[in-house]
Point group: none
Chain length 215, copies 4
């Protein structure tokens, strides 16, 4: 393994600032979290997008949220085929090992992944249909969502598909036997929200996703 570079100085400086302030002020708590293990109350599944940090929106402090982030906050359907499923592994760990009380899927507006999915499904981005496109194959998860929005007026399709990215993921979560069991036993609950990165607003799915209501 060659080709390793030292961390850029601006990050080293920020890290030292954090170490001298936040870490020092919270050392006792951080040590307890390390010794006794984490006990996060919720798992959050959100997008990798650099403009959507739920740690900010929800004021997350150390130990509160178990956070999985992938392109377009997607969860694939349950498929115990012995292959590598990073998202499914994260869900399994959160529900079976950590026993989180909430599973929160956080979508957002202006999502590049969702826009790519729309372009692909509507024929505008054939390169994403190629077998070798990782983004294309990942966005295949959202194809059922596209089917539900494709007859809407043109301008409404992408925003609707951003909400579908949340709903499809929630539906897929319920295909995992251990998630379904935990939800039905009242041990965990499902939540779907979409964050508008322009206006800072938040809507949440109600009535099984038939309505989206401003929080």
């Amino acid at each position: 393994m060659h080709n390793l570079s030292p961390l850029p100085q601006y990050l080293i400086k920020r890290y030292h600032g954090w170490k001298a302030t936040s870490y020092t002020e919270n050392r006792a708590w951080f040590r307890r979290l390390a010794t006794e293990g984490q006990r996060p109350r919720a798992m959050v599944i959100s997008c990798c997008d650099s403009r959507v940090h739920v740690t900010s929106i929800f004021g997350a402090d150390s130990g509160e949220f178990f956070i999985h982030r992938n392109i377009a906050n997607l969860v694939p359907a349950y498929a115990p085929d012995g292959l590598q499923h990073g998202t499914s592994a994260a869900v399994e760990y959160a529900v079976a090992a950590l026993k989180v009380a909430h599973l929160i899927v956080v979508g957002h507006t202006n999502c590049g992944g969702v826009a790519g999915c729309h372009a692909m499904c509507s024929g505008a981005a054939p390169e994403l249909e190629e077998k070798t496109s990782f983004v294309g194959r990942w966005m295949d998860i959202l194809r059922p969502g596209y089917e539900r929005v494709k007859d809407l007026p043109e301008a409404d399709q992408v925003p609707a598909l951003e909400r579908e990215a949340v709903l499809v993921s929630l539906e897929n979560l319920m295909t995992f036997p251990f998630v379904r069991a935990a939800v039905e036993a009242g041990e965990t609950s499902l939540h779907g929200i979409v964050h508008d990165i322009t206006e800072g607003t938040l809507v949440q799915a109600e009535d099984g996703g038939k309505r989206w209501v401003t929080v």
Copy 2:
């Protein structure tokens, strides 16, 4: 899709607090980011663990980091097999579409995923060997790392494996043709660090991972 629950009140309150302070103070910048698109300087690949938020450690502000988080901050090897690879999709998007300048893999101590991998590979957790274990199959990625640490003294193996989780991922990143090309063209650089969640310290890999040096 039934079984949807409203967001817990404590999160709604925190969100409203964020909206009235951070969002309001940064509205102009957030709107520019929304209109013009994100342009993150770095991609960070880190663990879902609730005790490791790089947004804290590096004081990440909106728009700075494209963050993928999965169990044990792992990257699988390049496999353009047409199947769903969430991590590979995130890497592809970051490098090919966003052209990030840095790819930073952030491991951490006390990692539940790494501990599980060690237990599995050393025979102590046969349930993780089952085909249906998503965590087990995901941790298969780290098996080559286990081979390199298994002859160390018992107490050193898990800490060494936590570092291997970073090195294996960096090695796998270089199997992606577009990553290799970008690295070799000097368009992006690779960085490997491990965060000690007890002491708040940070070490980074040098000499291709042969040495780990305190930052």
Copy 3:
């Protein structure tokens, strides 16, 4: 006085969120409360336990409840001996100065203080018998309650003692001449409840504590 630390950042952020929302929305009322003084309708005596916030259970708004919280929601008997009695001072202030209409003692299940008292009285925790144990000496208040439950079946003793912690406190409240006078004049009333923190239920004492009825 050295050894003072700045408030952790996560609390500062939450405070700023509260200031920008709840405070701002209620500024006029908060200012009136400040200028004209508090006029709480009830005094609540409850446990310090982090899982029992009567402000949540009863939706308490600013100005409504005068709240004293101590280990196991105990009130000692009247003892005008010139020594420091924090609980008695709080009761005196609530009844004599604030003239609250209700005195509500709120017990709860899974109470660490009550469990400690049971262990101490049954001989399982001799360290709590030591003169220097503040928790032990404080739980002495509940010894008469232990006498009334010690012959119950083993599994029933601690739950019964949690209810005794409420009843003993109510009995002790009536040993304060000013409380007795206010109760007998119909100026204040006594209430005893126990909150089940697992099921969220509430029972209240009736018939002088002979029966506990779900609210």
Copy 4:
């Protein structure tokens, strides 16, 4: 024990509202907290005053804060005399059993207890000097604070004494051997703040209480 009254209907209604909403939405978490025990990050010592609920100011959710509330947020000095010390018991439980990472003393403006202490010490309230006055004897804890403010201009004395109520308590906390040991070992930290209930502002003690800085 006669003289028990049923809970007022308005509280029963609010409780049922809480049960049907907040409890139901958070049942899984509440059950986990009940089963696994509380692990609060901080102990807060604040006043009984109905206008100062730290659960609001800091957006406290279930499980986060171990809260002791007494008149004027006072902590007496360490006195292992075998007598009943409710505040000392709460501190002992928080530090020795729960191992909280922060001890936060929260004072406030317009404090009736502090005003009473000032009146007593300045000779304006001889009734508080009587042996039988529980409030008077409790406020004796703050006499050393009065000595430090009595030569200030008249109008500054009570506000300064409100801050002394925090500082004296912090000083007294350090007289407890187990608190001092925990602070010196970096296992817990001390914080002093005063909340202005009129303006909603917050100041914190710095430089060992020599300066108070707006948060």
